[in-house]
């Protein structure tokens, strides 16, 4: 019965503001946006008052760690999907560093199926570039591309494909199915035992430095390789001013490269490491103020194409310890939109149309995911989020919906709040609250028929 009701739910969203600033009503029916305009009929519809809310196309995260299979103590596909929905996301790309690694068709299809069963967002698996992320030989990229999961993004994220010949081959090979290699740019020898950004502060704190050049040199090599073989390259979590310069140069040269920045690298700086609170330990590390400014400028001028969260949940014990022993990573799905709002919208560098581009349209296009990133137009899939930009909150554990509580924003005041999220025409979040697991699962089941 619930699935029947799910299929028939029609929503009238009244008085929303589109990313370009115009006001409109929206009608969602049969999984699509069916009407736009003012004074639309509420007949047979659940009405949502969206006065003061911005309607954004459903957010797409090209870089999420969902941890399942293998690390379910940190996150599951269900809990990570809920974290995504409360953050306004309708699709996440699940990184390959699971156990077993997502390096075969079987594993990526399992991740896809678990995502469908959860039903909160489209879970699009990423495939490993190399078997077991070991950096030695190519995984079955073609089999993953041809599987039901339709993998188009390949990444050894967590590790760099540092072998230049292997990277060249991977870039060439994925051309056969319009794939892209998403590189975690980190020269391994230059970052042995690295703990934080290398600079004056790392010297003072006695923490082994992670030099900017270890990222920049790999990006420089990779853009030249991509140019040489005519392939598509994506750079994960760009963190330094020098990297922005290299990518800007590559784009000016016509090289087919895209790049992402994380919300945390757009807002936070290395100063937070003073005090050795491991919530601020992340890879690549938090950098200097100049790097944050360069990333913001790069995002504003299009050098950085997208924002991606690098959501990386960890169990409490992995952070409740001395700095060296702590795991790298931060949870980011729940806070992403508010953090981007604080980092680049509040200061006027990006407007909400830009946010729709960098957090929905472009990541969907880079990842070639179906049914996402098509914007708020009649006929597009009903993937959207309603965001209250005037809200303000002290971010706390209650705002986290996944298993991980390793958020760097706890106790910080962040702007905005996701009011509602719609995925395939059904609400995953209403009135700022996640809809129940069973209700969402029923929707998903109904969709699959």
């Amino acid at each position: 019965m619930s699935s029947e009701r799910a299929a028939s739910t029609r929503y009238l969203i009244r008085g929303a503001t589109l990313p370009d600033g115009t006001g409109t009503d929206l009608v969602l029916a049969d999984g699509r946006i069916t009407e736009l305009g003012s004074g639309l009929s509420s007949a047979g519809a659940s009405v949502i008052d969206a006065a003061g809310l911005i309607a954004l196309p459903g957010l797409v995260d090209l870089h999420t760690h969902l941890r399942e299979p293998g690390f379910e103590q940190s996150e599951t596909i269900l809990t990570g999907s809920r974290a995504a929905a409360i953050g306004g996301f309708t699709s996440v790309f699940a990184m390959a560093n699971t156990s077993p690694v997502q390096d075969t068709a079987g594993v990526v299809e399992q991740v896809l199926a678990l995502g469908e069963r959860a039903g909160y967002v489209t879970v699009q698996p990423i495939g490993a570039v190399t078997v077991g992320l070991a950096g030695e030989r190519l995984a079955e990229l073609g089999a993953m591309a041809a599987s039901r999961a339709r993998v188009r993004v390949f990444s050894d994220d967590g590790f760099c494909v540092s072998d230049p010949l292997l990277m060249r081959r991977a870039l060439e090979y994925v051309k056969a199915f319009d794939g892209v290699v998403a590189q975690h740019a980190q020269e391994p020898r230059l970052t042995e035992k690295a703990q934080m950004n290398e600079g004056a502060l790392s010297g003072e704190l006695g923490l082994t430095g992670w030099p900017a050049v270890a990222e920049e040199s790999i990006i420089a090599r990779d853009v030249l390789l991509a140019e040489h073989v005519g392939s598509r390259l994506h750079v994960c979590h760009v963190s330094t001013a020098g990297s922005v310069d290299v990518i800007r140069w590559a784009k000016a040269r016509g090289i087919n490269v895209t790049a992402e920045a994380t919300p945390h690298h757009l807002l936070l700086t290395e100063d937070l490491v003073v005090g050795y609170d491991a919530r601020f330990k992340v890879n690549p590390p938090l950098r200097r103020r100049e790097d944050v400014e360069a990333l913001r400028a790069g995002l504003a001028d299009g050098t950085i194409d997208i924002v991606a969260t690098d959501h990386a949940p960890h169990p409490v014990e992995s952070k409740d310890c001395e700095w060296d022993a702590a795991a790298n990573g931060m949870v980011g799905l729940e806070s992403a939109l508010s953090v981007v709002h604080a980092a680049v919208v509040a200061g006027g560098q990006l407007d909400w149309s830009d946010i729709a581009r960098v957090l929905s349209a472009t990541p969907a296009r880079i990842g070639r995911v179906n049914g996402q990133g098509q914007g708020l137009v009649v006929g597009a899939p009903a993937e959207l989020t309603l965001y209250d930009p005037s809200a303000s909150r002290v971010f706390d554990r209650e705002d986290l919906a996944g298993k991980g509580v390793n958020s760097p924003y706890l106790t910080m005041t962040l702007p905005g709040r996701v009011h509602a999220t719609f995925h395939r025409g059904y609400a995953t979040v209403l009135d700022g609250m996640l809809r129940p697991i069973a209700e969402i699962a029923a929707h998903g089941e109904n969709d699959r028929g």
């Binding site: 703990q195 290398e198 600079g199 004056a200 790392s202 010297g203 003072e204 704190l205 006695g206 923490l207 082994t208 430095g209 030099p211 005090g275 050795y276 014990e317 409740d320 310890c321 001395e322 700095w323 060296d324 022993a325």
Partner: protein, 316 residues
């Protein structure tokens, strides 16, 4: 004093107070009965995650001279080596009623984490954390310099105008870090001399001059030359080619030692690599304070424990 974690945030007044108390403690060592009842009933835990017999027995002697009960907890042969976390170890010590924990840990910042975690209420003394700080070493070095310069009239004085050259592996040295902050706070001028590979790549904000040339540093006539221990495994990681080249360029050999003024003080935190960073003639000279540093270490650590464990705590 609630904790002693670093010298960076230590004020000049607090440092001089501690050094003056250490003078009083040193007087105890000259008595026939080298023991004070001050910390009777208090429990001090030496929590050592790295081997360091010298530092541990120095703290042990200091605590015992103040009549505290001492528990030595070494990572080797304990539950720590079986993977117990710092948190569980700390909570175990808290449950046993430790009043102070002296911690040596290979991870920079571990004492900070212990002090701020809420796992344990005891006062924390940093006995060396990774490449970060070793505050009691710097305090004993400052105490040693002050005594040499002022003998019986050291009380109340800083190190104003004293020139100190620290030579060797600055990059990995917690001794160098603690010294640069403390000695500068006390009015001294610090110069680092090291191979470029063994200096932090960015020294912005450090109150130190930097040079690569030990001969030039010697000829500038420093009041104090502090040699740091060089670890031979560094040459395997390409920090320098081999021990002979290191010794030729950055060792305090007989020839360089002879060029120092007779009043110059030669220091080394120990243990020394004789013939590598320091020659035997330099180490055993009248200007050398190597053995005084060991004796003064006990006095300074007594002062630190006294300030931590006696009287009112700032938070009470």
């Amino acid at each position: 004093m609630r904790h002693l974690l670093s010298t960076k945030d230590m004020s000049r007044d607090d440092a001089i107070t501690l050094l003056d108390i250490a003078e009083d403690m040193a007087d105890v060592a000259d008595r026939e009965v080298k023991k004070l009842p001050t910390l009777r009933g208090k429990t001090v835990v030496n929590l050592f995650f790295e081997d360091s017999t010298r530092t541990r027995i120095s703290f042990e002697a200091a605590a015992k001279r103040l009549s505290a009960d001492v528990i030595n907890f070494s990572a080797k042969g304990s539950s720590v080596s079986k993977g117990e976390s710092l948190k569980d170890t700390a909570q175990t010590l808290a449950a046993m009623g430790a009043d102070a924990v002296v911690i040596r840990h290979p991870a920079s910042g571990a004492p900070h984490v212990l002090a701020e975690s809420g796992w344990i209420d005891a006062g924390i003394i940093n006995a060396g954390d990774g490449m970060h700080e070793h505050p009691t070493q710097a305090l004993l070095d400052a105490f040693t310099i002050r005594r040499r310069l002022h003998q019986g009239g050291a009380r109340g004085k800083g190190l104003d105008g004293v020139t100190v050259t620290i030579v060797g592996d600055i990059l990995h040295s917690r001794v160098a870090r603690s010294n640069v902050w403390l000695l500068t706070t006390l009015g001294a001028h610090v110069t680092f001399v090291a191979p470029p590979t063994l200096l932090p790549m960015d020294l912005t904000g450090w109150p130190a001059e930097v040079g690569f040339d030990l001969d030039a540093a010697i000829d500038s006539g420093p009041d104090v030359v502090m040699m740091l221990r060089i670890q031979l495994e560094r040459m395997n990681a390409a920090f320098f080619p081999n021990s002979r080249e290191y010794s030729r360029r950055w060792g305090l050999d007989d020839e360089r030692f002879a060029r120092l003024a007779p009043t110059s003080i030669v220091m080394h935190p120990g243990p020394m690599n004789r013939g590598l960073e320091i020659s035997s003639a330099a180490a055993d000279s009248a200007g050398s304070t190597v053995r005084e540093q060991v004796a003064n270490g006990v006095s300074v650590r007594m002062a630190a424990l006294y300030l931590l464990l006696s009287g009112d705590r700032e938070d009470s």
